[in-house]
Symmetry: C2
Subunit: 178 residues, 2 copies
Amino acid sequence: MEGAESEPTRIMVAVNESSIKGYPHASISSRGAFDWTLQKIIRSNTSGFKLLFLHVQVPDEDGFNDMDSIYASPGDFQDMKHRDMKRGLHLLEYFVGRSHEIGVPCEAWIKKGDPKEVICHEVKRVRPDLLVVGSRGLGPFQRVFVGTVSEFCAKHADCPVVTIKRKVNETPSDPVDD
Amino acid sequence: MEGAESEPTRIMVAVNESSIKGYPHASISSRGAFDWTLQKIIRSNTSGFKLLFLHVQVPDEDGFNDMDSIYASPGDFQDMKHRDMKRGLHLLEYFVGRSHEIGVPCEAWIKKGDPKEVICHEVKRVRPDLLVVGSRGLGPFQRVFVGTVSEFCAKHADCPVVTIKRKVNETPSDPVDD
């Protein structure tokens, strides 16, 4: 147990942007998952843990605010890609910044694709000790339409998974928002 | 966060007896769940956590070894109940003893009934910050016949749940055994 004690516990936290406020704001549920990890697991033992923040950008969703943009040259697409990347970086900056303040070592990175698939793939690759995912805590009816990343990960990720449900008092008027 | 830091994180660990060795031996998967909690979550921060061990006795299973017993008077049933209780206490003694050695505060208690229902009921009652359950990691075919407590709890327990799958090298020849 001495050897295990020297290696920090690596916790992967899947984070995404708010559907209401957009980048660079984090979603309510991913902030909740992060806060829970700090308060309930890491506590004062900041050197015993390492946080791994994964942000998966959904190609379609990221283009949402660009509906009125005009793309006239290959360079315009390049600009758009740069803008997407910049937004993702802003999001991660929030989590890395807060971890730094508290003194927990961390790493953060961005991937593109279907969040649930990419998260499970990254778990296989980096082998964290625990994956923490936020959840909007939607009912069965709402879930049919929006799908839930957390449910998929709890079933398919190759490591222990804990799902943190959004607090009732933080639920927006449309619970699908986050 | 100062206030939150003073209250320890309360982790409920559901434990049961081994199907191979019987009482007072703990099942492979519940020992695995306990070890994981110590090594990956509590680590050296023993004063930051409190462990709550819940053992649910299944009335039928506990009578299994008494198939050849003869019950001749009401007192014989009383003896049997005492024996069951004693075995459950021996099981909990293992977990409480190890926690004590390490210096993590803990509580342990026994309930009777259907484990999955009782665990969810106890979560509602004692409100832990996290529930840790071991799992044999059975495939879909095996699950049909044995049911899985961990899956039910992950879905229905009123707190964050983490399921710790049994290690491959610890799986007995019949994976339904534990």
